[in-house]
């Protein structure tokens, strides 16, 4: 498989993630879509790393995984807080702040 192939796959994954963020209404699902986007980034990183000299890309992808984990931790905590406050995690219900 060529680099372009990987990149296309990565782009598709990223786009799916974006669409997920845009279309999903459940906060958890949005969070998961973002994880998908991050994984698309990882894929691109690793692919680049595979086709060009140096291992930086693979190292970076580990960093990204760490970032994803940290985000998930904070994000889920916030979701829990919202769920406790509002008894819902549907982001479309979260419109107290607007205008």
């Amino acid at each position: 498989m060529t680099l372009t192939g990987y990149l296309i796959l990565s782009a598709i994954l990223f786009t799916l993630g974006v669409l997920g963020v845009l279309l999903r209404r459940n906060a958890i699902m949005i969070l998961m879509s973002i994880e998908l986007m991050l994984n698309a980034v990882n894929l691109a990183m690793v692919a680049f790393s595979r086709f060009i000299p140096g291992l930086d890309g693979q190292v970076i992808s580990f960093l990204i995984i760490a970032i994803a984990a940290a985000e998930a931790a904070v994000g889920l905590a916030l979701v829990v807080q919202v769920a406790r406050d509002r008894q819902t995690v549907d982001v479309d219900d979260l419109t107290l702040l607007r205008g």
């Binding site: 949005i30 969070l31 702040l97």
Partner: protein, 485 residues
């Protein structure tokens, strides 16, 4: 390649602040809740970090194999971050007196996020930058949600978080593309690569640059990536809002100056035109939407979007090969913006009462007769934000629009200045309410805290003094920007 690996002094300021954060977090476990030792300890640590930072002014050192570079630029920003953090803590203490205690971890979150910012300001590598940015952002998400029991607070935090993570993904994806086309993530090498390939920029690099723009545009709340800002600003406890509007924004601009003002500031990339649009939209949307806001925090959020527009105008006009005006202007403006915004939020914190939130325009009514000093200070901040002399806000605006005019973006400057007339309208509406309307009967007197009063006084004085004698700060900003080359 490894010459800077062991340069501990290069990371000393960040380490001091990091240590502060850790110590504060630990201390918090052992003292009873609400003990004033915790914030004061934070302030002491931050102050130590400030001293260390200033003492390193004029030196230039590299660490972590070139992924970290400390110089005048970084130190300039360190000072902004730390001073903003210290002032925020001062205000937080008064805020606590009226609105209930912050949880203990709040005091460590601030230094933690400052560490993240410092990492961003000294990053010489995209990855370093992203790590710093994430550190900062994660702290910020949490801080926004600290108004426990307030439905808005958690809503705002979640929105901020979801969109922030979304933006991070763009940023990372952009990094991946840049890495793929330049084979490295070091700024210096990317700069070299870009100038070497200025007549044939690889497509991947261009895509990467745009994705970076999206990511960083989000962090500084540039239109159309701004929509989190009003909600998050309104949701956050007021001191946090002030902190976000100043320190976090400054950190974002540290990155933008490095990347778009310098590394990718070449006509071969069409970025200049794209940022032109962002600047334009930011100024328009920020200023216009602010007109409708009755909640002052929300108004200031939109106004901060407008100010991002002004800053981006300088970035558009930034061509380091020709003049330092753009970069210097951004650096100067960030300080001026920090001073007046912190001041404005400081006033909001002081008038903010116990049960009711007291953060709307109506709550300012008659302030002039209740508390003339506070009203005067607020007037100074509002006038400064309007960009009317003799205030620092005027000189900052003068300088950033000067950068745009100098590079031939007069049209943008004209539109910008016209939108800022709209800005004057809503800033002075605050003055109208304070001075020109009779005082509300139900105005509950508040306890004054000397710390906030002094802080506000110093801020107001600085706004005026630097407004009239801007030369020293200008020199600092210029040498800071110069140190990037």
């Amino acid at each position: 390649m490894f010459e800077g690996l062991y340069s501990w002094s290069a990371v000393a300021p960040a380490l001091v602040v990091l240590a502060t954060a850790l110590v504060v977090m630990m201390t918090d476990l052992f003292v009873e809740p609400g003990n004033r030792i915790v914030p004061w300890l934070t302030i002491a640590g931050l102050f130590a970090g400030l001293v260390v930072s200033i003492s390193m002014w004029g030196t230039e050192e590299v660490a972590f194999s070139g992924a970290w570079k400390i110089g005048a630029f970084s130190i300039y920003f360190y000072c902004i971050f730390i001073v903003a953090a210290i002032i925020t803590i001062f205000f937080s203490m008064s805020h606590e007196e009226r609105r209930g205690r912050f949880p203990g971890e709040y005091w460590s979150l601030i230094p933690f996020s400052v560490v993240g910012m410092m990492v961003m300001a000294s990053a010489a590598d995209l990855i370093t930058l992203i790590i710093g940015l994430e550190t900062m952002s994660l702290c910020a998400y949490v801080m926004v949600g600290l108004n426990r029991g307030d439905k808005r607070s958690s809503e705002g935090a979640l929105k901020y978080f979801l969109l922030g993570a979304f933006a991070s993904a763009f940023l990372l994806y952009g990094t991946a593309f840049i890495y793929g086309s330049v084979i490295t993530t070091r700024f210096a090498e990317i700069t070299v690569f870009v100038s070497a390939h200025s007549n044939a920029i690889p497509f991947n690099l261009q895509v990467g640059a745009i994705l970076l723009l999206v990511g960083l545009g989000f962090k500084v709340a540039a239109v159309p990536f701004h929509m989190w800002a009003p909600d998050a600003y309104q949701a956050a406890p007021t001191p946090v809002t002030g902190f976000m509007a100043t320190a976090i924004k400054a950190a974002g601009f540290a990155a933008i100056v490095k990347i778009f003002g310098l590394m990718l500031a070449t006509s071969a990339l069409v970025l200049q035109d794209l940022i032109w649009w962002l600047a334009l939209l930011s100024m328009i949307v920020g200023n216009f939407a602010a007109v409708m806001q009755m909640n002052l925090k929300r108004m200031l959020a939109y106004s901060s979007i407008a100010h991002v527009g002004y800053l981006l105008t300088a970035i558009v006009g930034s061509d380091p090969g020709v003049s330092l005006q753009g970069g210097t202007g951004v650096l100067f403006y960030l300080v001026s913006y920090a001073l007046m915004t912190l001041g404005a939020f400081g006033v909001l914190i002081i008038i903010g009462g116990g049960e009711d939130r007291r953060e709307t325009l109506v709550d300012m009514t008659g302030l002039a007769s209740k508390s003339p000093g506070l009203a005067l200070a607020m007037t100074i901040f509002m006038v400064s934000m309007s960009g009317i002399p003799p205030t620092i806000g005027f000189f900052g605006k003068f300088y950033v629009f000067g950068a745009a005019v100098q590079s031939g973006y007069t049209g943008l400057a004209v539109i910008g200045i016209l939108t800022s007339v709209v800005g004057v309208f809503y800033y002075l509406r605050v003055v109208v309410n304070m001075y020109m309307k009779p005082a509300e009967k139900s105005f509950v007197p508040w306890r004054r805290s000397r710390i906030s009063d002094i802080t506000l006084g110093v801020l107001a004085a600085a706004v005026l003094y630097i407004g009239i004698f801007p030369q020293s700060l200008l020199d600092l900003a210029r040498s800071a920007f110069k140190s990037l080359f």
